[in-house]
């Protein structure tokens, strides 16, 4: 297979970037999208051109490092993450646009690599249960109904890739924040800090410059872990609850 690639190149955070064209030749249909980029990169290096930098690590859809917007959609808008997208899903000879996740909260560092530490800072504000090592009671002393545990797991499945932010027309981080708030609000362990947590995490989310949610639900559509927007509704509820409590 052959493809024409339009790729965002930017030397560093301060530099101005632009789209550049590359050819991807003799691509095996079984390759993942990142393996295709690896091939293009090996070729660039041989020509003495700086390879395209992008974040990646596990290459099996779980670490959340890979972060490309392919043809306008994070992770190509397909099942799973960019590293799981296979080239057979593209039409031979087609043109593919590859861009970084774009948001004020995710500044570009180089090429397709973005700084997502804003996600960490939102977590630092309240995405935890304040229990120090050694303070725990026996695990079975906290009973969690199965349905609650399953729902909490649905929310906890978030891998923090930031596709929700990249997909949102407003670059809002609500789905990511809502997933963490909901996970801990659903579990008995999270009750003590329930109000404080949602207040802090929403505040930090706003300070970090994420946009506002206007209920497009694009986040849900591209989430590689199928996190539902019902958790955003839940976070809105939690936030109002925290106001009156």
């Amino acid at each position: 297979m052959n493809f024409k690639l339009h790729v965002w190149r930017q030397k560093n955070a301060a530099a101005k970037g632009r789209m550049e064209q590359y050819e991807a030749r003799d691509i095996n249909a079984d390759m993942s999208f990142l393996e295709m980029l690896d091939v293009v990169n090996e070729d660039l290096v041989e020509k003495g051109i700086d390879p395209i930098h992008f974040d990646h690590d596990c290459r099996e859809g779980i670490c959340g490092a890979c972060s490309l917007v392919i043809n306008g959609l994070p992770h190509g808008g397909m099942t799973g993450t960019t590293c799981e997208v296979r080239m057979r899903l593209f039409k031979d000879g087609s043109t593919i646009y590859v861009e970084p996740f774009r948001a004020k909260a995710f500044p570009v560092i180089k090429d397709l690599t973005v700084d997502r530490t804003s996600i960490d800072r939102v977590m630092q504000a309240g995405g935890f249960v304040s229990t120090h090592t050694g303070a725990a009671i026996d695990a079975n002393a906290i009973l969690v109904p199965k349905d609650k545990a399953e729902e909490a797991m649905d929310a906890a499945a978030c891998i923090g890739c930031g596709a929700c932010v990249a997909a949102c027309k407003n670059a809002s981080g609500m789905l990511f924040v809502a997933a963490k708030v909901s996970q801990l609000a659903l579990l008995p362990q999270g009750q003590a800090e329930r109000e404080r947590r949602v207040n802090k995490m929403v505040a930090m989310m706003d300070i970090e410059g994420f946009g506002n949610c206007t209920n497009y639900y694009e986040c849900e559509a591209v989430c590689p872990k199928d996190i539902s927007v019902k958790f955003i509704a839940k976070m809105n509820r939690e936030y109002m609850r925290a106001l009156v409590k």
């Binding site: 965002w8 959609l73 927007v229």
Partner: protein, 241 residues
Amino acid sequence: MSTVKTQVSPAQAQVTFIASSIGKKIFMATTGLFLFLFVSGHMVGNLQIFLGQDQLNTYAQALKDLPALIWPVRILMFIFFAVHIWRGIQLYFENKFSRPISYACNATVQAPLSSRTMIFSGAGILLYVVYHLLHFTFITTNPQYAGLHDTVGRHDVYSMVIFGYQNVAISVVYLVAMFSLCYHLSHAIPSFMQTIGLNNEKWEPRLKALGYLIAIVIFFGYSVIPAAVLSNLIVLPEGVH
């Protein structure tokens, strides 16, 4: 870059409810709710035109005779409307600035066009409301309406409406405005439910359908009046021309 540092330490992060992104949305939702209630009530009032000249003019006169009710409502509606618009514009620009560089290639999976054009459908509604007030409430655009009185001496709202919509251009503008309103509502209704936290997987498709249903009902509820005028289903009372 290597060190995680911001001006605000995460542990100190604080934003007031009103300034928070969720707070802003809740303001949009609740002011929107009152505007929606007004739109629904106004529609019911308007539809009395089908009950004849006497009924509509009686209703209009009754409202006029209740300044203690009508003025607070007008003032509140004005405030809600202003807040809704102000917040809407604020959200629009904040959201624009949240992505300083836009994508070269844009794609959308499931966000309906109505959701992405709220600012425009909203602007359409605003323009129409201004015109509508000048047209029927302040009678600035058509001062001749001021002289219309029915047989018992009340302001003849019934005839004014019919005169208004006999003008095809005004009717077309009206229909376009009603479409904007209902397009706006089709996203606003499920969005309202989501924002106040009443949504889940089961209700998401239902609320979406409900949004469309209510939007269609409101559209027809309003549009039926100029349609009836233009098709001569309702005509001017005898002696008025």
